[in-house]
Every structure is written in C-alpha cells, then in structure tokens.
C-alpha cells in the first residue's frame, strides 16, 4: 500500500525542482547564501569544478561532515556527488540522508565500464549526458533526472549548448521515424529499446533534464532555458565570481523569467566580474570532463 522510493516518487522530486537553479556549495555559509538567493537545491561538494580542474589528482565524494553541516543549515533539498560507478560512496550518501545523488563525471570515475545500479537505491539519482543515447542509458540504469554535462569548471557555455541541441535534435529525429526503424535507432543510440519507443511517441525525455557545465551569467541560464532545459545547475559560476550573492540572485531571476528580455537586462546589470572563463580548444582532449561516462 505505502511504497517508498518508487520511480514516480524519485522523478517527482525532480519535477518539483523545475524552473529552478541548483547551486554548487562547499560549506554551510555558501549553502545559506544559495538558499537566500532562491536556489531550489544545493549540491554539496568539497571543491567546485574549477578548483577540481586546477588541482588535478583524484576527486572524490565530499567529507560527510561537510555534507551534514550543509543539510543542517538549509531547508531546501541537498544533493551530493558520488564518483561514476562508486556504489559505496552512493550508499554512504544515502545513509547521510541526502535528497539526490549526482553520479558525476566531475569526480574521478571509480569504474570505467559500469555505472551504479541506481534501481537498488531509495534515494534518487541524477546523471550527466552529452547525447540522447547516454541519457537513456542512465535512465535505464535507474536515474530519475538527467543533466546535460556541458564542460564543468570552464565558465564557457558552448558545450552546454552543444549537448542540449544534440539531445533536442536526436529526439526530433526519433519522432519522425517510422516505428519499424526504431529498433535500429536504439542500436545506434546504444539505448534501451523501450525508452527509445517512449521518446519517439512522446517527443520528450521521460525525466526532467537540467543544463549544467559552464553557466556563468544570467544570460547563460536564460539561454539554456530557452533551448529547452527544465532548470539549471550552476557550479563554479557563482562562488568563483566577484559577488556571489548578487550573481546567485540574478541567475535565479533570469531562470524564472527566461523569456522576458527586459527582466534579463535588469538581472544582468552591475554584477561585477563573472568567473574567468576557459576556451574549450585550449583544454587537452584527455582533460575534457564530458568524455567520462559510458
């Protein structure tokens, strides 16, 4: 009669986050700033992606004591990152009571062939994707929310745009295919056939899709919303900028009113310097975070 952790309950929380901004935070003070600015959730991690990129080495799940402090100081949902395939980090995060786990390519992968079997958990998962096939594989493994990966820690929105346009284009293509061609489409996409069938029929992903990886300004956030994102993740973009509180608030405003250019103009004024950006072609191919995940 009463069931916990059903897929509807997991994906339902993501539905409640729609139209909102999820912000990366590394301590309780930042979490409070994010909540006060109107974030719908915070992502607890030890270092923001720009610092992970700069530091190199192995990036792991955050220290549970940091996550606990963040959980204690805000009322909005708290998410936290586990390494790809590291199901024990995920077990620990579930035990801590986080509301969503991000099985994230921003951390160093723990398994180079397999993602976490997310059906085994009561806590819901969000996973990154650069195209439709990857999104559907993650949903097939039990992810209840998807985010386009972009290129984390760069402050450069170009990859986020590429991934969102890719997924939209692939969905449009599936919609136009006759049913008998969907099996080979599933093979090309390396995606579960039943999910391919569902997407071809409905014309939308079966779960909420946020945009991540490179959003640094209110205009970036509104751009991703106009391209069809259900909401945005902002990682380094807020706490690596000159005035995090004002920028956080402005990005929330821009995400709500993404279609209102007058509001966007107001939101973009006087925010100080954005985070310094990185040109994608200057990053060696092996250092691109978006290529992690299988």
């Amino acid at each position: 009669m009463t069931e916990k952790g059903t897929f509807r309950v997991k994906s339902g929380l993501a539905e409640m986050l729609k139209g909102g901004v999820i912000m990366d935070v590394t301590n309780a003070e930042q979490a409070k700033i994010a909540e006060d600015a109107g974030a719908v959730a915070v992502m607890a991690l030890e270092r923001v992606p720009a610092d992970i990129r700069a530091a190199g080495g192995v990036a792991r799940m955050a220290d549970p004591s940091i996550i606990e402090k963040i959980i204690d100081c805000v009322t909005i949902p708290v998410m936290a990152k586990a390494r790809i395939g590291h199901f024990v980090e995920a077990q620990i995060l579930e035990a801590l009571g986080v509301d969503y786990i991000d099985e994230s390519e921003v951390l160093t992968p723990a398994d180079e062939s397999h993602h976490i079997n997310k059906w085994r958990f009561t806590v819901p998962f969000v996973c990154g994707a650069i195209n439709l096939g990857e999104a559907l594989r993650r949903i097939g493994e039990g992810a209840a929310m998807v985010r386009t990966k972009g290129e984390a820690g760069t402050g450069n929105v170009v990859e986020a745009v590429r991934h969102m346009r890719t997924i939209n284009g692939e969905i449009a293509r599936l919609k136009g295919l006759p049913e008998e061609e969907l099996a080979s489409a599933a093979k090309e996409l390396r995606a579960p056939y039943d999910l391919v069938l569902e997407v071809a029929k409905t014309g939308v992903l079966p779960v909420v899709n946020f945009s991540a990886g490179g959003i640094a300004t209110p205009a970036d956030a509104a751009l991703m919303m106009q391209l069809g994102a259900d909401g945005v993740f902002v990682g380094s973009g807020i706490f690596k900028s000159e005035d995090p509180a004002s920028r956080a608030k402005a990005i929330v405003l821009a995400t709500t009113h993404f279609n209102d250019s007058k509001v966007l103009a107001e939101a973009s004024k006087g925010l100080g310097d954005a985070m310094p950006g990185l040109e994608i072609s200057d990053i060696p191919a092996e250092d691109l975070i978006q290529n992690r995940g299988w």
Partner: protein, 207 residues
C-alpha cells in the same frame, strides 16, 4: 456544467507548473501560467503548485506577489495549494517560515514525513469522492499540524490531516498533478470555486 469555461492561473515561479496545466486542461478549463502579479486579474482561480516552498515563498515576496494574491483572495479568488502550496497558504508553520500567504487557518509542519528517502506513495480515501482510493505522492511532504474550527479535513494519512478545505481555499500535502487522477482538480473547479464567498458571493470571483 460550467456555462463558460473558467481560467485557472498557475503560479509559475518554479515547480510542477506544466503538470497542473495539463490536469486543468484535461478538466476542460483554461490554464494560465502566471509569472507577473498583474496577470492575477485574468484568472478565476489560482493554483500554487508543488515546488520548493522556501524558494517559491522568497520569490513571491521578492517579485511582489504576496499582497496582490491576498487582495484577490479577499475578493473571492479560489486558491488550491499542493505540497509547497499548502505551506504557503498556511497561517503559520511549526518552523516559523517567513514568506507565507497566511490565507488558511492551518499550521503546517514542513518535511513532516522526513527527507527524500522517506518520500512515498500511498492510497488515501477522500471524503466526498467515491472509491477507488486516491493514489497520493508524498514528496518531502508537509502535514497539517493544527487546523482552526472553520477548516474541514477531507483526508488523512496515518492520523495526520493531508487534505483540507476552508471556504474557497483547498490545500493538500501530496501531488495530485503527478498522477492521472483528475478528481481533485475537478473538485476544485466544480465545487471549491463555486462555493460561497464571504457575504457577497460572485460567480467565479471576477472583479
């Protein structure tokens, strides 16, 4: 039954706006997502959707929605709050939340059933609805800790009130917009919106 299909506004600052829109349209009414306070003048009823109550409350205060909604409510606007919407309709919360509409004589407890790992779905029976039971999604849901004398409890779960009505205000702790069961949306449109408004009843509450 309705001679002219009513327009139901859905507060669209954040949350499950699309799902309510779909449910309202399937009931044969018009749905209008509302992002600016001036748009409140265009609607006969208002839904405050599920989402993050802290966020929606802050944004309502920031974008100047609190007074205009209270004013329209005093004129007879019917309001339906789901989950976060229930919290925002409450007179107060156990935790002492800041930005509330305070339209209903209820005290809400936020995240009363626990965090996301404790979220669940369950069958509940709703007074005034014929069987089958209503499949209700409770997601980081609140419950109603206390309710005033003028508040009717229409459904409970484990002894806690989870669906209440006070005159033209309806609030539930769960998410009817996440299932295909339209009974609660129909009840809002066909019963709550047509109910008595204080001393001067006006059809559909148009100013």
């Amino acid at each position: 039954m309705v001679d002219k299909s009513p327009t139901i506004g859905i507060l669209a600052l954040q949350g499950a706006v699309r799902e309510h829109q779909r449910a309202i349209e399937r009931c044969g009414a018009k749905a209008l997502p509302i992002k600016r306070p001036v748009e409140l003048a265009l609607v006969d009823g208002l839904i405050i959707p599920g989402g993050e109550s802290t966020t929606i409350g802050k944004l309502m205060a920031e974008y100047g929605f609190l007074e205009p909604i209270r004013r329209r409510a005093a004129e007879g606007l019917a309001v339906f709050g789901t989950c976060a919407g229930l919290i925002l309709l409450a007179k107060e919360t156990v935790e002492g939340s800041e930005h509330l509409l305070r339209l209903m004589d209820i005290k809400a407890r936020r995240n009363a059933f626990g965090r996301q790992v404790d979220s669940f779905e369950a069958d509940i029976s709703i007074d005034a609805f014929e069987p089958p039971a209503f499949r209700a999604m409770f997601i980081r849901a609140p419950w109603i800790e206390d309710a005033g004398a003028g508040v009717r409890v229409l459904a409970g779960y484990n002894g806690r009130a989870v669906l209440v009505q006070e005159a033209r205000f309806l609030a539930c702790a769960f998410h009817p917009e996440l299932t295909n069961d339209l009974r609660l949306h129909r009840y809002f449109i066909e019963e709550v919106m047509k109910g008595e408004v204080g001393c001067q009843a006006t059809q559909n509450g148009r100013p």
